[in-house]
């Protein structure tokens, strides 16, 4: 079977730009959930978010791209540039038809869309941007990456709410198996504008606690919902043979297992997260005992935390494996969240350290999970399981392993 290794990681996270800065901050537990600055939150009950600071799109992208892109597309394009640079891929290294682009989306370029909707309804149709037809839609990031890098292989966009970031990488691995050499994959997301914010508030999932240190507390007895954030990760995924064509290419790790399942609407049925994890392990040909850390979905919603703890306990036994949720530092990044978790798992393996879960002080004892709290744990990490769930019933699981 064709193998899939990660050779480049582009990260834009509320606590760091680029894999080095992100990893340093994450290992130190640097939380980046803060009062919202991107719009005036005075009229909204939720007032905190994980914003990506210090990102000046104009420093990285040509001016002509700015009027046609939403913030999330700019993050994506810059993240992709970084991932390619990290992987040492030069234009023409690889035939353009052998490169796939597979990204995840949740709501598209929402801020761009709000601006154009406002122009249409307040000023009139003649004020709407000529770029509206594509700048807001879900497929935009894949199309823009393809154009920027001249990739002419397969392209796709998957949407499965917050599980999508994992699904996109799973689908990229499928493309390698179908014969492409390299895939640019993952998700970067952003929907920090008032029109998106009322939708986030309506989801029923945001915490009503506006203390950045007390709002998003997965597995804690005070769990009260989550905090929204922006950012994510784009990765270069390729076959080991492809990586070997560029001597000296660093291989961070390998994607060895993936599966997704869905929750029944019937309460009598067991939620599908455990099954997704088991299927991903089976896909990897691995036993649970070989997993050194679980990057949890960590919804921060009591019944979902309980279900996830039960799934983890069901597979690994009580306190059977270290569990962590570095997203407690950034908030949940929607289409970007799953791929940033996969990137974190890969970095854990590469740097032999498990980043901590922050702010959680009182994990529910009945959950019986070994939550990595407050401080990173250093030591060899050979393999990690990444879990993700999306509102509506989506479950995805991915197994990553050191490359040997």
């Amino acid at each position: 079977m064709t193998r899939a290794v990660v050779t480049g990681i582009g990260i834009a996270s509320p606590n760091g730009l680029g894999p080095t800065a992100y990893w340093r901050a994450t290992l130190h537990g640097e939380a980046a959930i803060k009062p919202i600055t991107r719009f005036d939150s005075a009229n909204y009950w939720a007032k905190i978010a994980g914003e990506v600071p210090g990102f000046e799109a104009g420093r990285h992208l040509q001016g002509r791209l700015l009027p046609q892109t939403d913030h999330m597309t700019r993050l994506t394009l810059v993240g992709t540039d970084w991932a390619l640079r990290g992987a040492g891929v030069q234009p023409n290294d690889i035939p353009d038809t052998d490169i796939a682009v597979i990204t995840a989306a949740t709501a598209g370029g929402y801020e761009f869309g709000q601006r154009e909707l406002q122009k249409l309804w307040h000023q009139g149709p003649e004020y709407v941007s000529a770029y509206q037809s594509f700048a807001w839609f879900y497929a935009v990031n894949t199309g823009q990456i393809s154009i920027r890098h001249g990739t002419r292989g397969p392209g796709a966009v998957v949407v499965s709410e917050q599980a999508g970031g994992i699904d996109s990488i799973g689908h990229a691995r499928r493309q390698l198996r179908k014969g492409v050499q390299l895939a640019l994959t993952g998700g970067m997301d952003s929907s920090l504008c008032p029109w998106a914010w009322v939708a986030h508030q309506a989801s029923g999932c945001l915490s009503r606690n506006n203390n950045p240190r007390r709002a998003y507390l997965p597995f804690d007895r005070d769990a009260s919902g989550y905090v929204a954030g922006e950012g994510g990760a784009i990765m270069v995924l390729e076959t080991p043979e492809s990586a070997a064509e560029r001597p000296g290419t660093r291989i961070y790790g390998e994607i060895v297992g993936y599966a997704s399942t869905f929750d029944s609407r019937m309460p009598s049925r067991e939620p599908g997260l455990k099954r997704a994890a088991e299927l991903a392990l089976r896909d990897a040909g691995m036993d649970a005992s070989e997993i050194d850390v679980v990057f949890a979905d960590a919804a921060g919603i009591p019944e979902l935390d309980k279900a996830e703890a039960e799934a983890i306990k069901g597979i690994f036994g009580p306190f059977g494996v270290p569990v962590t949720a570095p997203k407690t530092m950034t908030g949940r990044l929607f289409a970007g969240g799953g791929s940033l978790d996969v990137a974190s798992a890969i970095l854990s393996i590469y740097w032999s350290a498990i980043p901590p879960t922050v702010n959680v002080e009182n994990p529910v004892p009945e959950y019986e999970i070994d939550l990595v709290m407050n401080e990173a744990r250093h030591g060899k990490v050979k393999a990690a399981l990444v879990l993700g769930r999306g509102k509506g019933g989506f479950n995805s699981a991915m197994v990553v392993r050191e490359y040997r």
Partner: protein
């Protein structure tokens, strides 16, 4: 033994009628269902026409809560999904739910509901800070289109892989291609797939107005979409949905199912050229066709019918005509081509699935639906576009293609399956 993905059930909501029968009647008679928009007052806009579905959710059996909760596009998916389930003859509640998946295509999701709620929350665009007190309970479901896959998954009882595939105007082909991959790799035995779109709201119309992609033949809406005709002046929007039950071949055979055909080959390509423009040489679409044919173990000369993208823009017509010639060579000239958008308009992320279903029905009926409104062929488009009238022809291999904003080019090869019953 490799696994193969076959189609055993179809359901349709389309302009001109609800249900597969009404849809086939329209296509086979070569009638058009495009008209002046009635869903809202389109008089301020440049293009005021669309293929609208006469869809009454109450008559189609949706409950009051479903009607309140679901965007129109999701309503289409549930209704067409129920028809496809029943058509397949599968007792869904007897299957292992973990082996049932869903892959739904949509380009713009719940855009109609979002625009309606935006108008209220912003008081017609007056406030940037949208008023939170006007948020409806299901606003988050409209925010992300994966909510529509959730609804379809609930309808069929799926607990296997579920996702939306959103690649603009190729979504309806790509979602079915994705579903076929799930079956072939062994992740599911049955995947309910297809595409749905209900984009007819002012913001969508304006999107196409501002880039002058849509037709302005507002005085003659029924003949406005004229693919391959030299008088064409752009696309006409549409809405609709097709849901397809895709099943592993042996699974279908074991229950003696009627098999419409096989998804024998599928490929997608990015053109890396322009977010809305197409290169006239059609290289990437041709690449996609070649890979799909290879995967289907079919030669170019096996293709008996080409279901074109046929959006009604000059750029598209030249692009795909070039791609067909590049891939099929001399055989392209001998192969009937037709475009359904001339009859039902361009329903963005749904149309690819509607075209698949129409192509499967062509297998069933040995009849190729025509390209409507094609009276004066463009001399630069010199293939056989099956003008105006359906043509009797026994076909066992169909090529269907799609092209979308973002540079997506997709091709699918559908093959008749021998010993397929009925």
């Amino acid at each position: 033994m490799s696994r193969r993905a076959v189609i055993t059930g179809v359901g349709v909501v389309a302009p001109g009628g609800i249900g597969t029968k009404a849809y086939w009647k329209l296509l086979s008679e070569g009638r058009t269902a495009t008209r002046i928009i009635t869903h809202f007052d389109a008089s301020p806009y440049r293009s005021r026409m669309a293929g609208e579905a006469d869809f009454d959710p109450v008559r189609e059996g949706l409950t009051p809560q479903e009607i309140r909760r679901l965007d129109r596009a999701a309503q289409f998916a549930v209704v067409a999904g129920r028809e496809a389930m029943s058509d397949s003859g599968i007792e869904f509640d007897q299957l292992d739910p973990g082996r049932i998946g869903v892959s739904l295509g949509t380009a713009v999701g719940c855009t109609t509901s979002l625009e309606r709620e935006f108008i209220v929350g912003s008081d017609r665009g007056k406030y940037w800070e949208v008023d939170q007190s006007y948020a409806v309970p299901h606003l988050y479901d409209y925010f992300t289109p994966s909510s529509m896959a959730t609804e379809l998954a609930w309808t069929v009882g799926a607990e296997g892989p579920v996702s939306v595939v959103s690649t603009g105007c190729t979504s309806g082909l790509d979602s079915v291609g994705y579903a076929a991959e799930l079956i072939m790799e062994g992740s599911a035995d049955v995947v309910v797939t297809g595409g749905t779109e209900a984009p007819l709201s002012p913001i969508t119309v304006v999107c196409f107005d501002v880039i002058r992609a849509s037709s302005t033949r507002n005085d003659d809406p029924t003949t406005a979409c004229r693919p391959f005709d030299k008088t064409r002046d752009g696309l006409v929007l549409g809405e609709g949905c097709a849901i397809i039950v895709l099943e592993e071949l042996e699974h279908a055979r074991a229950r003696g199912a009627h098999i419409y055909g096989e998804v024998a080959g599928f490929a997608s390509r990015c053109n890396a050229y322009h977010m809305t423009g197409l290169h006239p040489e059609g290289i990437e679409m041709s690449d996609a066709i070649n890979i799909a044919l290879k995967q289907a173990r079919a030669d170019a000369t096996d293709v008996g019918y080409i279901n074109a993208h046929g959006s009604g823009t000059k750029q598209n017509d030249l692009h795909e005509t070039a791609a067909f010639k590049r891939s099929l060579g001399a055989h392209a000239y001998k192969t009937p081509v037709s475009g359904f958008k001339s009859m039902i308009g361009h329903s963005l992320g749904a149309i690819g699935s509607l075209e698949i279903v129409g192509s499967l029905l062509a297998f069933e009926e040995d009849l190729i639906p025509p390209t409507a409104n094609l009276h004066e062929p463009d001399p630069e488009c010199d293939l056989d576009y099956t003008p105006l009238v359906a043509r009797e022809k026994k076909v066992d291999t169909v090529l269907t293609v799609g092209s979308g904003f973002g540079g997506f080019q997709s091709a699918m090869v559908l093959k008749k399956v021998e010993g397929a019953g009925r």
